[in-house]
Structures are given as structure tokens and as C-alpha cells.
């Protein structure tokens, strides 16, 4: 079955993140000036305004905790009609809790989802070239 959901669009600010995701790695933008991660990535650091930005490879073993979540019982976007109930969560990284990422929590019963729950990053294959970072 073909992938009907929206595929992340790459642009000049976010391409290294999504390119890494396609290789099943996590790359995060980091500011050289204030030494803070800048996620989601942007044209400059949203914490200090510096454009002295770099990318850090966090690898493939990514652990996190559920910081918050919603459970959608209705598809609010096209392509998600077979994905309800859908858990959309804010995940804080175990190693860098100041970094929060949005993702879906896969392969868990809805009743088990809770704040503080430990999850691991996984990569959901979209097609031959693309993959989406997810959590389970």
C-alpha cells in the first residue's frame, strides 16, 4: 500500500535533519555561540539569534520520555484516516531533556500512554528513500 500521509518537506534550514532521518540517524542543529540545541532547525538560533550553527550527530540509539501527548480519535489531516486513535506526543530526549521533539508513539495500547513513559526512537519507512523518526 502506498504511503498516503504527508511526507516531510526538506528545505535549506531543515535538510540535514531529514537527510539524517532517511539514514536512520538523529542530527540536531546546535548553536556555536550559546551552545544550545536549536530544534526544530532554523535559519538562526532561536535562543540567541546567532547564525553560527552546526549539526551534531546523536546517532541511532535515541531514548526519550513522554513530556506531553494528545490522542486524536479523528483524522485532522488527509492520509490519517486509518491511523486513529493517533498518539501525538512531545518527547524530551533522555540525554538532553531541553530538546523536545514531536512524534507519534507507535505500537503501544492507548491506555498505557502516560507522561514520563520511556520511549525509543524508531524510523518508519515511508518509501525507498525516505523515513520518518518515530517513537515506540
Amino acid at each position: 500500500m502506498s504511503y498516503e500521509k504527508p511526507i516531510p518537506l526538506k528545505n535549506e534550514d531543515n535538510a540535514p535533519f531529514w537527510d539524517a532521518a532517511d539514514r536512520h540517524e538523529l542530527f540536531l542543529q546546535k548553536c556555536h555561540t550559546c551552545q544550545q540545541f536549536a530544534h526544530p532547525p532554523g535559519p538562526a538560533c532561536a535562543k540567541c539569534g546567532s547564525s553560527d550553527l552546526t549539526w551534531e550527530n546523536l546517532g541511532t540509539d535515541i531514548k526519550g520520555r513522554v513530556y506531553s501527548y494528545v490522542i486524536s480519535h479523528r483524522p485532522f489531516l488527509p492520509g490519517f484516516q486509518n491511523d486513529t486513535p493517533l498518539v501525538i506526543a512531545v518527547i524530551e530526549l533522555a540525554t538532553y531533556p531541553e530538546v523536545k521533539m514531536i512524534g507519534n508513539i507507535l505500537n503501544h495500547a492507548i491506555e498505557d500512554i502516560h507522561i514520563g513513559m520511556e520511549v525509543e526512537m524508531t524510523w518508519q519507512k515511508i518509501n525507498d528513500g525516505r523515513s520518518l523518526p518515530q517513537w515506540e
Binding site: P8, H39, V70, H73, P75, L77, V90, I102, I115, L132
Partner: protein
């Protein structure tokens, strides 16, 4: 900066018919609302020399409205925006009057919000959304396409930290629906909500069910702002603006990376300082209610109840008539109608002017009222009005 406390006033408010299918254009709706506000103010139409509107590209331009009112304005402005735009444009109008650009400004919001462009979404191109929203590619591929989901991420965390429950969300809904039973123009007039029915309603997007979401309506609202000096020559009681915090922001467009802080936290301090009052001085409120939780979070931000005590505040009925702070007394956007906040502004003006005197809809002896705007967790504004 000049202190503008009590130097400006809202002198007229008006609305078009409210429906789910207006069968007409936003221009027709805006004309109806504008004429009603002008009549309410007791002004000659030609005295309005400034026109301002906010929209999501779903309205009619201010220049067009002024043209069909037969006016040659000195100033027109159309901004993109939703919640908290009313407060911001009132502040803009005050600035223009203060500097002698115009004398009297009509601000309106006109929308076919149900039969035309729906805020709740539907039918949007997903790639357009990814590009249009800053950081959209980090939300849309995960199915997060609705403010109900984005704000829900704030709500779940806040509820976890402060002990708020679904029951407390329900109290906001039940209280506002109760107000709507006194307002024959509210969509949910004749349709009260019990807590039992609230709990029996399945979630659309946990923690929210359909009652926690605002309505969609076709309608236009208009308000008129002028100087207190001019207001005193008009036939009706004005609502004086004690203080206004036009707009404050937190974080940036990726506001979901910080779900612990909202712009209202900063607006609250600013608006109380400007008005010279505290939460204890408030008699009535219009609290932006695109979602029930947004009300709870603002009760905390505006220090109406302490963090951790907001749930008890609403459970004890303090948003209802006779409570400590009757709020959204026309039913709010949860049960009256939805114009990105302007219908709540109209209601608080009417309460502050004691328009409902002699009926059970009037908040007794209300002298000071708070009106809040919420464009999102990241952008907010507020004003305080007095009799």
C-alpha cells in the same frame, strides 16, 4: 509614554445575524454589523474616519466596507490574524487617535466561519500547510494539523502538573453553556449541558471532546473606539478602557517545544499595571475560549485563581452568575458563536454598560471587567474596561 488610562472608550458594538449558513458575503455581514454598531453609538456614519479588520483571508477589506457605508476614510487597515487581534487593533486605534491621524475607528471581524473558510480545517493541501507554517514539516507528517491538538499538548502537561482533570474542563463548558441559556442569540440557547452529558461525550482529541472545542459560525461583529472626550458627547454610556496590553509573545513559532509558558503570563502583569487594578478588582470577564482548557490556563495566568487552585475555582461555580467572576456571560465561543474573540468583547462592553439591567443576564454592580485575547500559547493580549 502618555498614560491613556480612561482616555479612550468603546462607544458602540454591533453584530450581524449569526448562522451556520449565511447565504451571503462577508461584506454584507460586515455592513450589517457596522450599521448596528454605529446606531448603538449614536454616531453619524461619516464621523467614522478609521476602519480596521482582521481576518484569515476570509473577510472583506476595510476600504470596501467604508466605501459601501458611504464614507471616505482617512485610514484603513487589514491585518492577518485571529485571536487577540481585537485588543491589538483597539490599541492601534488609540495610538492613531492619540497622534491625530483619526478620531473614531470602527473595528470589525466578518466571516462565513462555518459555510465558508473553516478554522477547524478540512480540505487543506498538506504540503501548503508544511510550507506555510514555520516548522510545519515537524508537525504535519505526524498528523498534528489542528489547534485542538497543538493546544492539547499544553493542556495534558498542565493538567498533569496542576491536578486539573476532565471534570474541570467540563465545568468551564457547563458554566458557559448555562450562560447561553439566557442568550436567545446563542447557538446553544435551549441546549444546556450537564456534567454527565459532558463525560459521556467521546473525545475528539484527548483531552478534548467536542464541548471543549469552540463553535463555528457565519457572522460579523463590529466595535467603535473613540476618545473619552467624544464619548461623553454621545447619547449612551461608554465602556472606558482602563488599560490595554496590545500583544505579547513568548518563544517563537515552534511554541510546542516549550509547553510550560504562555504569552498570557506576560500580558497579565502588563495589563494590570497599566489599568492600576489587580485580579481582585474584577467584577466580570470575557476570557478567550477557543478551547475550555485555554480558559483554565488564563485563570492561572491572570491570577484569578492560584496555580493548583483553578480547578476548585471553576468547580465551585465562580464562572457562573453569582460566582466570584462571572465570565463569558453570553456563552462565549464554546456556546454562543465564534468570531475570533470579538463576540466576547461585545458582551463585556454590554455588561460594563449595564445594558441588561433588570434582567437575570446582568452581572450585578459590575464596574470593572477583564477581556482577554489568545492567538495561541505564543501570542496574547488583554484589556480592562470600566463603567
Amino acid at each position: 509614554m502618555e498614560n491613556i488610562k480612561n482616555k479612550y472608550a468603546i462607544v458602540g458594538v454591533g453584530e450581524s445575524e449569526r448562522s451556520k449558513k449565511s447565504g451571503t458575503t462577508p461584506l454584507h455581514l460586515a455592513l450589517d454589523a457596522a450599521r448596528a454598531a454605529i446606531a448603538d453609538a449614536g454616531l453619524e456614519t461619516k464621523e467614522i474616519d478609521g476602519f480596521m479588520s482582521y481576518s484569515e483571508n476570509d473577510s472583506c477589506p476595510a476600504h470596501q466596507l467604508s466605501t459601501y457605508l458611504g464614507v471616505r476614510p482617512k485610514y484603513v487597515k487589514d491585518i492577518m490574524g485571529g485571536g487577540s487581534s481585537t485588543e491589538m487593533l483597539i490599541a492601534d486605534a488609540i495610538g492613531l487617535i492619540e497622534t491625530g491621524q483619526v478620531n473614531t475607528v470602527l473595528i470589525y471581524r466578518s466571516m462565513n466561519g462555518r459555510s465558508g473558510v473553516r478554522m477547524g480545517g478540512g480540505g487543506w493541501d498538506v504540503n501548503m500547510l508544511q510550507n506555510a507554517m514555520d516548522g510545519g514539516s515537524f508537525l504535519i507528517p505526524y498528523g498534528a494539523g489542528s489547534p485542538g491538538q497543538w493546544f492539547g499538548l499544553f493542556a495534558t502537561r498542565h493538567m498533569h502538573e496542576t491536578g486539573l482533570t476532565k471534570e474541570h474542563l467540563g465545568h468551564v463548558c457547563v458554566s458557559f453553556y448555562e450562560h447561553a441559556q439566557r442568550n436567545p442569540k446563542a447557538f446553544f440557547y435551549g441546549k444546556p449541558l450537564t456534567m454527565e452529558a459532558y463525560h459521556d461525550t467521546p473525545d475528539l482529541s484527548f483531552p478534548f471532546n467536542k464541548h471543549d472545542f469552540c463553535l463555528e459560525s457565519d457572522e460579523a461583529n463590529a466595535i467603535i473606539v473613540t476618545s473619552a472626550k467624544r464619548a461623553e458627547q454621545l447619547p449612551n454610556q461608554p465602556a472606558y478602557i482602563m488599560g490595554i496590553a496590545a500583544r505579547q509573545c513568548v518563544s517563537h513559532a515552534h511554541y510546542w517545544t516549550n509547553v510550560d509558558e504562555v504569552a498570557s503570563d506576560y500580558v497579565a502583569k502588563d495589563v494590570y499595571k497599566k489599568a492600576g487594578v489587580t485580579a481582585k478588582d474584577l467584577d466580570v470577564a470575557s476570557i478567550y475560549d477557543c478551547y475550555s482548557w485555554v480558559v483554565l490556563r488564563q485563570l492561572e495566568a491572570y491570577e484569578i485563581a492560584k496555580r493548583g487552585e483553578v480547578g476548585d475555582f471553576v468547580a465551585d461555580g465562580h464562572l457562573k452568575m453569582g460566582g466570584k467572576l462571572p465570565s463569558n456571560t453570553a456563552g462565549g465561543m464554546l456556546s454562543e458563536g465564534y468570531t475570533h474573540g470579538m463576540n466576547n468583547v461585545i458582551e463585556i462592553v454590554r455588561q460594563i454598560r449595564h445594558d441588561y439591567e433588570g434582567s437575570d443576564r446582568q452581572v450585578k454592580d459590575c464596574e470593572v471587567g477583564l477581556c482577554t485575547g489568545w492567538a495561541g500559547p505564543d501570542i496574547a493580549g488583554a484589556m480592562i474596561l470600566r463603567n
